[in-house]
């Protein structure tokens, strides 16, 4: 057998077995409902927190974004199965995350550092 006919020596080893078999899925159902409840709770929390004065508007925005990021993280990790996804997907998302942060950061920078205003 020629080793060249083997597709992909480097990545074949890292592909874990698919954990989305029927038994695994059944075990996850409870988790999905728990996450849903957590999300609803945090929705209530973020509404409540918006009526608390953290001193400045910026602080309130920061708190709300922190909660939103946590919620979004839960959705992404559990509902979208990102907590156990293949490496390829992570790579795509890391790139995307980098560029979207770059977009935000540089546009913020351009606002922050003008010659004229």
């Amino acid at each position: 057998m020629n080793e060249s006919t083997q597709p992909h020596s480097q990545e074949a080893a890292v592909a874990p077995p698919d954990d989305h078999t029927a038994e695994h899925v059944a075990a996850h159902v409870r988790k999905y409902i728990m996450v849903g409840v957590t999300l609803l709770t945090f929705t209530a929390i973020t509404v409540a927190l918006s009526y608390v004065n953290f001193g400045t508007m910026k602080a309130n925005v920061a708190v709300a974004m922190l909660v939103a990021t946590f919620k979004a993280g839960l959705v992404a990790a559990i509902f979208m199965h990102l907590s156990a996804e293949k490496r390829l997907i992570y790579r795509i998302l890391i790139f995307t995350g980098f560029f979207v942060l770059g977009l935000f950061w540089l546009i913020y920078l351009a606002w922050y550092n003008p010659i004229v205003r």
């Binding site: 020629n2 060249s4 597709p7 770059g102 977009l103 540089l106 920078l109 550092n113 003008p114 010659i115």
Partner: protein
């Protein structure tokens, strides 16, 4: 499907129908096809038509620049009637029409010409064949991508014929001008040039996104067994990076286009600051928007777009050079990594298009640095191509002529970009003909020459016939000469201060007094225009050759007429539905030319490694002999 089979009277005579598993009618086979090859050809032909159309707009503009205010002879009156009142009354071009032509020339050449041909056409036709795949992963989405592009193109064309004519805000559609133009009395609220430009753009962006998703998935998933990443032809790598650029850079522009559409249709002020006065009366908008925001979002696409234009061209040139120099491509890995770095960096250089907008020094310094860094991978790629030619016994076929011409042309274009990267130098050169010459050297004699190389090179695979090589040379030499006569003087004009948007070509400005080589900067317009029209004539041999060869060109003797190594040449010419008769397996790298101890000078990727090669796992290259 059955219902439309009778529409195809030629089906019975088609020699390739025997290969089909099931017969498709003419409409399903050639119009609403989901076969990647047909879609590639559709993209290619549509894109070439748009390229020629966009070039024709420029030939019209060149008349106005060379002979400002004079009536265009012979066709002037007819064109004036064709494009409606306000375009060319009595054959004399109005300033508004000139602006329309400029804006649409840029838009059509980039988004309806080069991207569809370089990325979508070649990518669709060649990539699945080169990776040994039966088709794209999502054939229907692929067809949807083409039709979205087609609709977008039609909308762009229709915009010429609405009251007021096509968009006039330049291909960049800078606000606030783009938002306030073509509005008010005499204009339809939606069916006006700029609004149709925006709507057409949404279709074009959607098309590119669908295409990009498809390309990336195909390259990841459908590579033939044994075709590892480092065995992919460089063209596939180039398309892979290009697809990522389109995927991630286009959406922010889509967001911006939607916002500008809201500004125009719903009178919002995303990009409109307060206190604007138009025609003497204050604009009734809420204000609070920012024109800079549009520029940021536009150039967030706009700069990666430059690499979308050039990377597929580089990929084609790599294939053609390797094939015709009969040598392995020099520095394959550095080429691949250079392309990846290029793609990565292209996302963080965008604001170098905005030196004159009032950004602060910190931002400018950041973008100036990244801009200079990005020249490194470009130079690596160009150097690798040049070194590949060193010591080769080059076959100067027509594709190779175009590919070798690409190298110095791209070099000139790239090197003249460096002064523009420094914001101090750019203050002087910004928006002059110097900039025009710079980016046209990259895109016109650069990418378009690469596209011609690709067309001549893969034509036998697509049709089973070769294009006539004599007429190919008749196409090539005048094109090369005209390109340089057009664009070299523009550097001088630009350095004299000629602004790129002057309707009268600079005759009323200081530039009319500055002499270079006996001509004023303004007088250079005439030779440039003549060269541009000659360039148009030089395309006639190509057009005739192209269609003649489809029907009556010389049949290829075998499936691999160029004696190439990559997998597409193992498929029949033209490949049937499903591409390969036997699914290919790759055993080796993409450019195994002139392997030692072999009877022929090329070894295809699907030829198994022989026992004699095993002893020297990596064949040592022959020493370079400098003759």
């Amino acid at each position: 499907m059955d219902a439309i089979t009778h529409l195809d009277p030629h089906a019975a005579h088609d020699p390739h129908h025997e290969h089909e598993h099931h017969e498709l009618g003419f409409v399903r086979r050639w119009i609403f096809s989901s076969d990647h090859k047909v879609i590639g050809i559709q993209y290619g032909v549509t894109g070439l038509v748009f390229l020629f159309f966009g070039f024709s707009l420029m030939m019209l503009m060149r008349w106005q620049l060379a002979y400002p205010g004079q009536a265009l002879p012979v066709i002037g009156n007819a064109l004036g009637k064709f494009f409606g009142p306000g375009s060319m009354p009595d054959g004399k071009m109005t300033p508004e029409f000139y602006n329309s032509l400029g804006a649409m020339h840029g838009t059509i050449m980039i988004f309806l010409g080069i991207v569809p041909v370089a990325f979508a056409a070649f990518g669709n036709f060649v990539v699945p064949l080169q990776i040994g795949a039966p088709d794209m992963t999502f054939p229907k989405i692929n067809a949807a991508s083409f039709w979205a592009f087609f609709v977008g193109g039609v909308i762009m064309l229709v915009s010429f014929f609405v009251p007021g004519g096509a968009a006039k805000g330049g291909w960049t559609s800078y606000t606030p001008l783009a938002v306030i133009s073509e509005q008010g009395p005499g204009y339809h609220p939606v069916l006006n040039g700029q609004t149709l430009w925006l709507i057409g753009f949404i279709f074009l962006i959607t098309s590119s996104l669908l295409g990009a998703v498809n390309f990336i998935t195909t390259i990841i998933q459908l590579r033939a067994p044994g075709l590892t990443w480092m065995r992919l032809p460089f063209f596939v790598w180039a398309q892979f990076v290009t697809a990522f650029l389109l995927l991630l850079a286009f959406p922010p522009l889509e967001a911006a286009v939607i916002m500008q559409l809201m500004d125009r249709v719903a009178a919002t002020s995303f990009f409109m600051p307060a206190g604007l006065v138009v025609n003497g009366s204050p604009l009734h908008i809420s204000g609070g928007g920012s024109p800079l925001l549009w520029q940021h979002l536009f150039w967030f696409l706009g700069h990666p777009e430059v690499y979308v234009l050039i990377l597929p061209g580089m990929g084609i040139v790599a294939e053609v050079i390797a094939n015709n120099s009969r040598k392995p491509l020099w520095g394959y890995k550095s080429l691949v990594f250079a392309a990846l770095v290029l793609g990565f960096l292209s996302f963080i250089v965008w604001a170098h298009h905005m030196w004159l907008t009032g950004m602060g020094t910190t931002v400018s310094a950041f973008f100036q640095t990244t801009t200079l860094i990005i020249s490194i991978p470009s130079v690596i790629i160009l150097s690798a191509f040049f070194i590949s030619l060193w010591g080769a016994s080059i076959r100067f076929t027509v594709p190779m002529l175009f590919a070798t011409a690409f190298l110095p042309m791209f070099g000139i274009g790239g090197l003249t970009g460096i002064p523009l990267a420094f914001n101090s130098a750019d203050l002087f050169l910004h928006d002059t003909y110097y900039v025009i010459a710079h980016f046209h050297y990259i895109v016109a004699p650069g990418t378009i020459f690469a596209l011609f190389a690709g067309i001549y090179y893969w034509f036998p695979k697509a049709t089973g016939r070769t294009m006539n090589m004599f007429w190919g040379k008749v196409h090539f030499w005048p094109s090369l000469i005209c390109m340089n006569v057009i664009f070299l003087p523009m550097f001088l004009q630009g350095m004299l201060g000629m602004h790129r948007r002057w309707y009268d070509g600079g005759q009323g400005w200081n530039i009319a007094n500055e002499h270079v080589w006996g001509l004023t900067g303004f007088q250079w317009n005439t030779p440039i225009s003549i060269a541009a029209w000659c360039m148009g004539l030089a395309q006639i041999p190509f057009i005739i050759n192209f269609f003649y060869s489809i029907l009556w060109g010389k049949r290829v003797a075998n499936d691999n007429p160029w004696e190439a190594t990559t997998l597409e040449w193992t498929a029949p010419s033209p490949p049937g539905h499903g591409n390969f008769i036997k699914a290919p397996v790759a055993y080796r790298g993409p450019y195994e030319y002139s392997l030692p101890r072999r009877g022929k000078d090329f070894t295809m990727q699907n030829e198994p490694i022989e026992a004699s090669e095993r002893k020297t796992a990596r064949p040592t290259p022959d020493p370079v002999v400098i003759a």
